[in-house]
Symmetry: C2
Subunit: 315 residues, 2 copies
């Protein structure tokens, strides 16, 4: 049951922007560093709580983000916004720390096959590396652990809930500050999201959990609704819905930031985000990435938009 | 809170297909009658509960549906499927009855401006006409009343809940068998859907309410989730997401049938619909309407699809 938001104070939700990392890394063109910096500076002015700025990965693996240091060091940091970076290994961690990131985002998969394919390690090796990185960071930055394929793996299929809980428990033991549950290829459904999110919130009520959904099968906002109903208040999203899915050409990518903010704002939540500023920035994206974007509100306008009564018949 | 569906019998949901009316009427090309009949016969084999076959409106107003009689009379009717038609006035009602439709769908808007623009009548005049049509039909067909702009009007804005309830009460008094709450231009949000649906279900628990959502602003499935949580079990949807919005060129149309069925099936509901059959039929749509369709699952495949582990790195 959805609780009406009219008779209580607005609940705060935290919107975390991932387009410049999760989105840009999929783009076939290299977006010039200046353009990235300008775009991220624009994002900083929209009211998002966090920006995942880049990934300190091998430039050979992801050429689109080869300018990680330059981008991280040249952006203007706005007060109240956290600037995070994805870090795949110890070397990446050193690079990220040298740029003074606010948060380091570690990643591993809930499924063995996806972890091997993505990171060339077993999940156990990933956990060992996480522990080493926590030691290396030693309080110089916040630490977040992202669990890919939490809601299903395109190779291995279903991920049993006890396995998700066991892995989350390992993250907690290692001492991370936040945990992201990722629906990496858009396999989650709202009933499953409710089961998983309720289970982790019940066991670790004080942990900062983030939900990271993809709209691959059109369920992104429905899953976000199920997550917020289950007590999740942090959401990754990607401006314009940038992101895509490596296994489904033409499929939608990450859940779209402006569509998510539009929904949550309309529902009466306090996202802290200026939708108009977000829409203005989303409008620049087709020129930046040189293709159309899947976001809907940028095309249709917000639901508060009014039209003059037409002279002719409407359908 | 979402109730887990694992520990109870599957709840039945009824999927009502509107692509051949709400979708085809927006298409700039005339789809040949034979192709419509073939397509509707295909829909009849997917397990949908109802098909809104056509609209008995003026061929001048909607040339795309000028073949209403031919289509309605030539389709093969499958047992267990209801065949409905939209009827804008008494003349249309006579035409529909002459074809032996199972259900007549009446339509009016919750907002004055939209009713005037769409039907050239005041809402009061529409209600009077509904009453005349109920008399004319006199049990020869089921009667459904659709309330356009229930969740907001592109001209008038918000529709107060008491006004929605008053109009629904008039429908009930007139003696209709079912009532559809239409989010005509995709303005609804899930909190509002919950408020409206809970209110009507509480006041008229035995009435067959249908939720009719558009995905104009990406919230179609989130709204469907909110509606099912609020006790709604009948959903209009359009194969491929066909439909569109006359006020927002490029915006998505009706909520997509195969994406909705995919979500509800994955959640453990019993839609009665064969998703594979639906996807096969959706795959024919781009050729029929001669453009791409917004449906996601037809591009990405169902979430149960498995992929071989790739040789290279995955994102």
């Amino acid at each position: 049951m959805i609780t009406s938001t009219q008779d209580r104070g607005k609940q705060r939700l935290y919107i975390q922007e991932v387009s410049v990392r999760d989105g840009f890394q999929m783009e076939p063109i290299f977006i010039p560093t200046d353009r990235k910096v300008e775009f991220i500076n624009g994002l900083s002015r929209t009211g998002v709580a966090k920006i995942e700025v880049t990934s300190f990965t091998s430039p050979k693996a992801i050429p689109a983000l080869a300018d990680a240091e330059a981008v991280m060091c040249r952006i203007e940091r706005a007060p109240g916004v956290e600037y995070a970076a994805l870090v795949p290994n110890l070397r990446g961690c050193e690079r990220a720390l040298s740029c003074g990131v606010d948060e380091i985002n570690l990643v591993m998969s809930a499924s063995e096959s996806h972890n091997m394919a993505n990171l060339r390690m077993t999940p156990m090796q990933s956990l060992d590396q996480f522990a080493q990185i926590v030691k290396l960071v030693d309080g110089q930055a916040r630490l977040n652990a992202s669990l890919s394929t939490t809601f299903g793996c395109p190779f291995d299929g279903d991920i049993p809930l006890p396995h998700v809980l066991d892995t989350v428990a390992r993250f907690v033991d290692i001492g991370v500050d936040g945990i992201t549950l990722c629906d990496t290829t858009g396999m989650a459904n709202p009933a499953q999201v409710a089961r998983v999110c309720e289970a982790v919130k019940e066991r670790w009520p004080a942990m900062a959990f983030t939900a990271h959904f993809h709209n691959t099968r059109g369920m992104g906002l429905a899953n976000a609704l199920a997550a917020v109903q289950s007590g999740i208040d942090r959401f990754d999203a990607s401006l314009g819905g940038l992101g895509g899915c490596p296994f489904a050409p033409g499929a939608s990518g990450n859940v779209c930031t402006e569509d998510m903010v539009h929904m949550f704002n309309a529902m009466g939540y306090d996202t802290g985000v200026d939708l108009d500023a977000l829409l203005a920035l989303a409008g620049e994206l087709p020129q930046i990435v040189q293709h159309d974007i899947p976001g809907q509100v940028v095309k249709a306008g917000p639901s508060t938009r009014r039209y003059p009564v037409p002279a002719g018949k409407v359908a």
